[in-house]
């Protein structure tokens, strides 16, 4: 089927009939590979990447061949899968998990003519770029809503592993919940997994049992929302909109919007304009999108949340704008200043007011 489509493929490929399908693949039709860390229907991180891939596939149609490999373990296996993709003709490969970082660097060094895109890492080279989203900007909006919506003044946060991205999220959520409601406290539960629906559900129950009535999650499944629904408490969509849980328990959501970026970068390969870069996009560039704020949120709170969202988008506000103190009371960010991206990317401490220690 694939081959027939190639042969039907219009004027640009007219030459192909003379050269045969193999030459078309090499000359005319770029091949783009994606590797996913989880199954493509995990309801969270990987599924969301996969949906963006599908959108890109629709957009480019027959002009680009897209291949996807799901459930690729980090480390040696990722390196092998990417090498095999490169050898079989891929010109651009997206590696969609932090743990692929060194593997991407190794393969990129071996295949200088193949371009690589690595999500959420910090290493790049002439033929490997990085892309990441400022999830913490979304947490600021959700944190504000959480602070306003809690009746018990206790909000919960389910963490996976204490990496900077998650710590950014906890800090941002707490800072904005606290600004909205100075009496608020945050309880963090670490489950040592990105994806374990049963444990995520148990952790949500534990937070509810400890008096939390709004729970934010930084794991991959919809189990926390399903649990919150039964308990009548509130939560937020994470990575995907999770609109099926609106208006309650899902008050809003942080959507990872990868599709425009994928389309832009695939187009660059097609046009021959691809260049390496390190981008960290947020609400402004629409890589982080705030899902519709549901009717369960009072109109004034909704307006405030949207104002935070818009002021982040236009650059007039930074979620980690000073003054901010570290957990031990020492000064982190001075009045009127904001932290540089390097500090944020390596964030490994809580801000003042959060109780408990980061696991080590």
């Amino acid at each position: 089927m694939e081959r027939r489509n190639v042969l039907k493929g219009g004027a640009a490929l007219g030459l192909s009939l003379a050269l045969g399908p193999k030459a078309v693949l090499a000359a005319g039709k770029p091949k783009v590979g994606f590797i996913l860390v989880g199954p493509k229907n995990d309801n969270g991180w990987s599924q969301h990447h996969y949906e963006a891939i599908k959108k890109a596939e629709e957009k480019f149609g027959d002009a680009v061949e897209i291949v996807v490999q799901e459930s690729v373990p980090e480390g040696a296996d990722a390196e092998r899968v990417m090498s095999q993709m490169a050898l079989s003709g891929a010109g651009l490969i997206f590696a969609t998990s932090f743990g692929y970082m060194d593997a991407v660097q190794n393969v990129a060094a071996k295949f200088p003519k193949v371009m690589f895109e690595h999500a959420t890492g910090y290493k790049s080279s002439a033929n490997s770029a990085t892309y990441n989203a400022r999830f913490y900007e979304g947490r600021a909006v959700c944190g504000h809503i959480a602070g306003k919506m809690t009746k018990t003044n206790k909000i919960g946060y389910i963490g996976s592993f204490p990496i900077p991205e998650v710590i950014q999220g906890i800090n941002s959520s707490y800072i904005h919940a606290h600004k909205a409601n100075p009496k608020v406290e945050i309880s963090v539960v670490w489950i040592s997994a990105w994806f374990d629906p049963a444990k995520e559900a148990d952790a949500t129950k534990a937070l509810l049992d400890q008096g939390c009535d709004v729970v934010l999650s930084h794991t991959d499944s919809t189990a926390p929302l399903a649990t919150l629904k039964t308990a009548g408490a509130y939560g937020f969509g994470q990575s995907a909109d999770m609109a099926e849980f609106a208006p309650k328990p899902r008050l809003s959501s942080i959507i990872d919007n990868w599709a425009p970026y994928y389309e832009e970068r695939i187009k660059a390969i097609v046009d021959g304009t691809w260049k390496t870069q390190n981008i960290w996009y947020g609400i402004k560039e629409k890589m982080v999108v705030i899902g519709e704020i549901s009717d369960a949120v009072p109109p004034d709170v909704k307006a405030e949340a949207e104002k935070i969202r818009d002021s982040i988008a236009d650059g007039s506000y930074h979620p980690f704008q000073g003054p901010l103190n570290k957990q031990d009371g020492s000064v982190w960010v001075k009045e009127g200043e904001k932290p540089d991206d390097g500090t944020l990317l390596g964030l490994n401490f809580y801000v003042e007011g959060i109780k408990g220690a980061i696991p080590s």
Binding site: N41, A198, A206, S360
Partner: protein, 310 residues
Amino acid sequence: MDFTSLNFVVLIAALMVASVPIMLAAIGELVVERAGVLNLGVEGMMIIGAVCGFIAAVETGSPFLGFLGGAVGGAVLSLIFAVLTQTLLANQVATGLALTLFGLGLSSLLGQNYVGMKPPVTGKVPFGPLADLPVVGPILFGHDWVVYFSILIIAIVWWALKATRLGLILRAVGENHDAAHSLGYNVRRIRLGAIMFGGAMAGMGGAYVSLVRVPQWTDGITAGAGWIALAIVVFASWRPWRVMLGSYLFGGITVLQLNMQAAGSAIPVQYLSMAPYLITILVLVIMSSGKGRAALNAPASLGQNFHATR
């Protein structure tokens, strides 16, 4: 102090729910092992049960039929194990592990079109005013029917093994299949029945994860519960009531550690996360070093294949 802020009534009620999947799977596996068969494919049967139960519940709209579907799915998968080990005399350890691999793959293929759907709600048993009683209300009268069913099935297995002819035959087959055979019992048929019962219980346990605990279908949803169930059987030294004890202990510590984190415990999280496993080992050591000598209760023919020469 860490414990003062914890509400133990809520905690006990929560652990009873959290323990159901491993308890069901473990009591099923106990019967299998008492018949002398070691089926390490519990995780595979659980996840097939989880997906079949979910599909059945969504398609029929009935949670009860969902649990039934889960049990049937688990039992059907266990048939593969039964044919391989009982008819074709394949190695039980390897077949069980292959069953898990196959079950994980198949469940994902079956569940492709059901991701993101919501199953019908399994409601609590209406006990009326009893459920509002302090302390005993949430613990004894605040659950869905499967929680009570899981306890009932423990009681039934205990009674059946202890007091019925079927139980006696089952144990005889597990202790010495050659002797049982020469007494005229059909070793293979009894083991087949035990294996399918084990599959059905594991499947139901899996369905509890996808229909009540989480409730949704995603790939890999059982996330290792089957392995814990296997451990609980050994922990219980093949005795039904100890399966309940072991499941509640393990489920209890898991729930407790999450609650302690949520309550802001001073114990570092990494130690809390290890606690369920370490404490299970510790209790096991104490039990096995005591006068009971638990580990010696293993059925004598466990894991050995039977082939009638006559």
